[in-house]
């Protein structure tokens, strides 16, 4: 199992309570390769943020482990950068200072000039060279999220975790920042794990999309390969023959199967089913086994 760069095994999270314990998710097995961009989608409240917080070390898992780069990852660490949905910038610092905050924490021995040069470089990458000295209150939501992305990438974590980073943005802004995220990702060759509730966003960005069933007792049911060549952009991606197959597959999962599969305890602990909708829409088990071997 640990041939993956990040390997999560048997992860579950239970919130104890007096009447009945809340099993948010269980039996989650996730493998992520180095440099891979993985998205996870599922209905609101199914436990996506909880998984991400466990991976970030902000929450402790009830069972299971996460191995990253051959070491067990527990507790928060600069090796795992996080971008939160609500940006989480420090409002008393300027954009540059917010990014420098992370850079200084990462490389405490760097001098001021080096920290600032490194930080401005990453702000430039997300198109914010003109707003270095503005505070978050003077920036739009989209600009704040760019600062937050720059802060996370600037510390070069081994794994970058993004929790619905574009959820609060309007469609136009979201599109622009998605392009920027793709650019900075391909330049830095980061490993990224991102939560989204937007199917199109997942197809545009991800190498693989993980599908989560509805909670409680949510599971990571399938791993869908996005077999579309890069570089991708929003205009050309819809012309790819695989696009609608993948899209239909994902939408079908969200609308129908996420509920049907929910709570079907038989599969707990089983491996995550791997699927490539560009090849076949409804894989039979032996076909998918052959597919697994091919991947």
């Amino acid at each position: 199992m640990s041939r993956h760069f990040v390997s999560i095994e048997g992860l579950s999270k239970v919130y104890p309570s007096k009447e009945q314990d809340l099993v948010v998710f269980e039996g989650a097995n996730i493998g992520i390769d180095k440099g891979e961009f993985v998205c996870i989608i599922g209905h609101s409240g199914c436990g996506k943020s909880t998984i991400l917080n466990v991976m970030a070390g902000l929450e402790t898992p009830t069972t299971g482990t996460m191995i990253m780069d051959n070491k067990e990852a527990s507790g928060p660490s600069l090796d795992r950068g996080v971008v939160f949905q609500n940006y989480s910038l420090l409002p008393w610092l300027t954009a540059l200072q917010n990014v420098s905050f992370g850079v200084k924490a990462r490389w405490p021995t760097w001098n001021k000039a080096k920290v600032e040069a490194h930080s401005s470089h990453f702000l430039e990458m997300v198109g914010l060279s003109g707003a270095l000295h503005r505070k978050p209150s003077e920036l739009s939501g989209g600009m704040c999220q760019r600062v937050s992305i720059a802060r996370a990438f600037a510390t070069s974590p081994k794994l970058l975790l993004l929790d619905e980073p574009f959820g609060a943005l309007d469609a136009l802004t979201r599109g622009v920042i998605q392009d920027e995220l793709l650019k900075i990702w391909s330049e830095t060759q980061q490993t990224v794990f991102m939560i989204t509730h937007d199917v199109d966003e997942a197809i545009l960005l991800a190498d693989r999309v993980l599908l989560m069933t509805n909670g409680p007792h949510a599971r990571v049911a399938e791993s869908v390969k996005i077999n579309i060549a890069r570089p991708r952009n929003r205009a050309n991606i819809i012309e790819d023959p695989a696009y609608y197959k993948i899209r239909n597959y994902l939408v079908n999962f969200l609308v129908k199967r996420s509920g049907q599969l929910s709570g079907s305890a038989g599969q707990v602990g089983g491996a995550t089913q791997e699927v490539d909708p560009s090849v076949e829409i409804n894989p039979k088990s032996e076909q998918s086994a052959a597919l697994k071997a091919a991947i």
């Binding site: 970030a56 660490s77 996080v82 420090l90 008393w92 209150s137």
Partner: protein, 275 residues
């Protein structure tokens, strides 16, 4: 905006003039002194001293005092500047000592629910005590009027700072704490780089309330312990029946209090952030 400010200034001046005019008119010497009762004659009748002096007199007296504020002609005759300096010294000493204790302790209470629960009963009992109620005990223990006055300032300014610091620290957004955690900041760095700036506006608000209370209390404290200070000065001039000086020092107390408040307001503005 400019015109609103201008109108407000004009209105303020008008109100001031009307107020002073009424005050001046009401305090002219009585036209006649006929028909005094025996009691009135015993009490000095229509003696000038028994009436509130009109503003013209107060201002000419203020002019005299302010033209030489730091003269020192013995224990009972010092310039207003010296008296205010004594009071400011006591207020600032007690206040800074209180800040030195209240802010770190407030941090601890704000960060630890255990400490909050453990210390809260003491705070709730001690806080409503009038600071002057401590004076006899302070005089007995410290055996020094100066130290006792400073202690009273200390005890009255500690509560707003303590409570606001604890509140500000306890309510730092969890998102910002998460940012500190994912950046592997040490507890000390988290306190200084995240919690302190996040809670600073609330802490400063507490400090501003405290300095206001301290300035209110010092006048009363100095009336009790005597010797020097603006509070003693007011009381002493009342005993001398020098109403000019009494009114003048009341105005000075107000002015200095306003300056203290404005200073803290300016500092608050420096640490304020928009969320």
């Amino acid at each position: 905006m400019a015109s609103l400010n201008m109108k407000a200034t004009l209105l303020s001046l008008l109100l001031l003039l009307v107020g002073l005019g009424i005050w001046e008119a009401m305090n002219q010497a009585p036209a006649a002194s006929t028909g005094l009762s025996e009691y009135e004659r015993m009490m000095g009748g229509a003696d000038q001293e028994a009436r509130v002096p009109p503003p013209s007199q107060v201002f000419s007296h203020a002019w005299d005092e302010l033209s030489d504020p730091f003269y020192d002609a013995g224990p009972n005759d010092k310039g207003i500047g010296i008296q205010l300096a004594y009071s400011l010294y006591r207020v600032l000493t007690g206040y800074l000592a209180a800040a030195l204790i209240a802010i770190p302790l407030g941090f601890v209470i704000g960060m630890s629910p255990l400490m909050h629960k453990a210390l809260n009963p003491f705070i709730q009992v001690l806080r409503p005590i009038s600071p002057l109620a401590w004076m006899p005990l302070a005089l007995f223990i410290i055996r020094d009027s100066e130290g006792s006055a400073i202690f009273v300032i200390f005890i009255c300014s500690i509560w707003p700072m303590l409570i606001n610091t604890a509140f500000g620290v306890a309510n730092v957004r969890t998102d910002w704490i998460k940012v500190a955690r994912t950046h592997e900041l040490s507890p000390l760095k988290t306190a200084f780089l995240v919690i302190l700036p996040a809670a600073a506006p609330t802490i400063l608000t507490g400090m501003r309330i405290s300095i206001g209370i301290a300035w209110l209390v010092i006048v009363a404290a100095e009336m009790l312990v005597g010797g020097t200070g603006i509070g003693y000065y007011v009381w002493n001039e009342w005993n001398n029946l020098d109403l000019n000086s009494v009114i003048f020092s009341i105005l000075m107390i107000g002015l200095v209090g306003m300056l203290l408040d404005m200073t803290l307001a300016a500092v608050t503005k420096l640490v304020q952030y928009e969320d």
